[in-house]
Amino acid sequence: MRIQIKNGRIVDPASGRDGVGDLYIADGKIAAEGTADRVIDARGMVVAPGFIDISARLREPGFEYKATLDSEMNAAVAGGVTSIACPPDTDPVLDEPGLVDMLRRRAKALARARVYPIGALTVKLEGERLTEMAELAEAGCVAFSQANAALVDTQVLWRALQYAATFRFPVWLRAEEAALAKGGVAHDGEVATRLGLPGIPSFAEIIAVNTILELVRATGARVHFCRLSTAGAVELLRAAKREGLPVTSDVGIHHLHLCDRDLGYFDPNCRLEPPLRSQRDRDALSRGLEEGAIDCICSDHTPVDDDGKHLPFAEAEPGATGLELLLPLTLKWGEARKLPLAKTLARITSDAARILGVTQGRLAPGAPADIAIFDPSATLRVAPENLKSQGKNTPFLGYELAGRVRYTLVAGGVIYEA
């Protein structure tokens, strides 16, 4: 199928292009010109590379009662997300090539977004034995991670980074010193003190970032820091990049917009990992993302069923649904910082593609035709009935957010339209 997308505002962060024009698609790739079997009129809409979400839990295998590949892939394409990296904290954990292979086949059969599994760094994420990383990479893992599981033993972390560096595999780590975070459920600050919630101090993250950076210096491993949450970590990443270390980082959409005050009266939808921190931290994350200390935004999509959230705050399961909010919340960030649209969208397209090591995320001729066409002014009212994800758990319930996806294309095929 050859498609012409005409009259849209084409925004390609990779090239900096931003202007009204036409785009052609043939053989699943973007073409500069051509003929068309189908014409999509994108007048008034933005035509952008499909979004790349470098952390979304699809909950398969093992947690099908929370969400399924089918439900979450629907959520992804409704949100214009065409590539997803999924963390290994499934059940069983993604620590064997067979599981990775099965996940990729299942995802491929659904023929929606592209799925990139992140392999477990240690067996069962227990932090003790290394996984067969080379085998897992062959099966399709693009990086290795502990997800939110603690890696208590620094010796194991050191060896894991050495081993990964041997094969030039990227390691994605959420920096949190396990002993300091133990038992904590909220940012250790005024709000947690008032609510009587056990806290996780900011320095639990800062100390862990320092440790990992030192190990990066020692091993040369390529490390991506997941879900930064503190101003201190942003500063360390800024300095590490200036030093030339092979490190990158991301921030979750929630931490970009919310802080511990949003816990209100114990809203379990604000129970997240890492915890929502102070306003000052949130502002530092927002600025760090603009200035490049942080490379990209992810949804950290974590669908949780009602039983997992209808609990007292500390007992509630952490996480929030986010695939469908990635675009609107990214736009909201860009607007707040008064950024040009191309720079805003870069954080969920070209920059995310660079972290993931894929060729999507751009609209250059020859690139895979993964495209999101959205109406930047149409709003989404965040409500359970308006979310395709099986998880309805989000702190943004009740918000009106601008930016609605009208068409999503993957490899030149229209897989979603609304």
């Binding site: 003190t193 008032r194 609510l195 209100g264 009266y265 007292p312 500390a314 007992e315």
Partner: protein
């Protein structure tokens, strides 16, 4: 942010979940109502018919004898039917969820749930999920709040000191884990106490507690100087060794209330304790049983305060 969940649309007390966020007028209303009930508790027939025909469910997800008993007495003196449920050893161990338990009891026609739970915020979750005519009274949730204890402390202070606006109050000990301290501090600042002090080692003072309007002291002698009210907090056994404190002996030496340290407070200072006391750990017997102690009157006032709270929420 959602409306304060303990107030109804008219701004009246629908549930009592926390002292934080309650307007001064409601606190005074509760204290005044309690005062009228103190008379009742001293009569020969200690009953009023205010809650006749109503059911009060004592829902204790965490063991408690003292608080549960005082709620039971208070409800009975209001002529309510009282049902005690010790859930710590029943449905929870069978795996029933908190909200299922509440829904089941609600089906048995409850009017007031008195809830104690080990998890901060649990009564808020329950209050959000009960029927409009049902009321939730927090009898202690995690480290968060123990509002009826806070109110009885306020009552006691008002009883002995008459007014709040010229007082210096010190809260001493394990503030980190104390729901009593949090509730009392909110009450004191709402009622206009000009100086609330928190005294304890850094390990037991929660971060950012100054934002609640208190001054932090690590030196007990300095912190007690010229105070009108000294509130001692219970130090639980499991805190006494490990990373928070080296030993009960060392704690007592630095943060236990003795006659010698109490002499630094105002001569007419009162000493309070929410109980149960650890004599020789946070308080010396000579102080606990001495002329400054108002620890037993606290217990008596506690019944009147709980009567006041239940009669007010059920009347709204």
């Amino acid at each position: 942010m959602e409306r304060n969940p303990q107030l109804n649309a008219k701004g009246e007390l629908q549930h009592l979940l926390s002292i934080e966020g309650l307007p001064r007028e409601i606190l005074v209303q509760i204290l005044d109502t309690a005062e009228s009930f103190v008379g009742v508790t001293e009569r020969e027939v200690k009953k009023v018919p205010i809650l006749r025909g109503k059911s009060v469910f004592n829902l204790f997800f965490e063991p408690s004898t003292r608080t549960r008993t005082t709620f039971e007495i208070a409800a009975k003196r209001l002529s309510a039917d009282v049902i005690n449920l010790n859930i710590a050893v029943s449905s929870q161990t069978k795996g029933e969820s908190l909200l299922d338990t509440v829904a089941n009891l609600s089906a048995m026609q409850a009017d007031i749930f008195v809830v104690r739970h080990a998890s901060s915020g649990a009564p808020f979750l329950i209050a959000r999920n009960v029927k409009p005519h049902e009321h939730v009274v927090n009898a202690g949730d995690g480290r968060h709040a123990h509002p009826t204890q806070g109110l009885l402390d306020l009552y006691t202070i008002r009883h002995y000191k008459k007014e709040f606006t010229s007082l210096r109050v010190a809260v001493v000990g394990d503030v980190l884990h104390s729901r009593v301290a949090r509730s009392l501090i909110h009450g004191l600042t709402t009622l206009g106490v000009p100086e609330v002090r928190v005294i304890g080692p850094q390990t037991l003072v929660p971060v950012g507690v100054e934002s609640m309007g208190v001054r932090v002291f690590h030196d007990m002698r300095e912190g007690l100087r010229d105070t009108d009210v000294v509130v001692m907090l219970r130090l639980q056994n499991e805190r006494m060794k490990g990373a928070l404190l080296p030993s009960a002996q060392e704690y007592f030496k630095h943060y236990g209330l003795t006659l010698e340290k109490l002499a630094l407070a105002r001569p007419d200072a009162i000493v309070m304790h929410p109980g149960p006391m650890n004599r020789g750990v946070e308080i010396d017997s000579s102080v606990a049983d001495g002329p400054h102690s108002v620890i037993l009157p606290q217990v008596t006032f506690g019944i009147a305060v709980r009567m006041a709270v239940m009669s007010i929420v059920a009347g709204n």
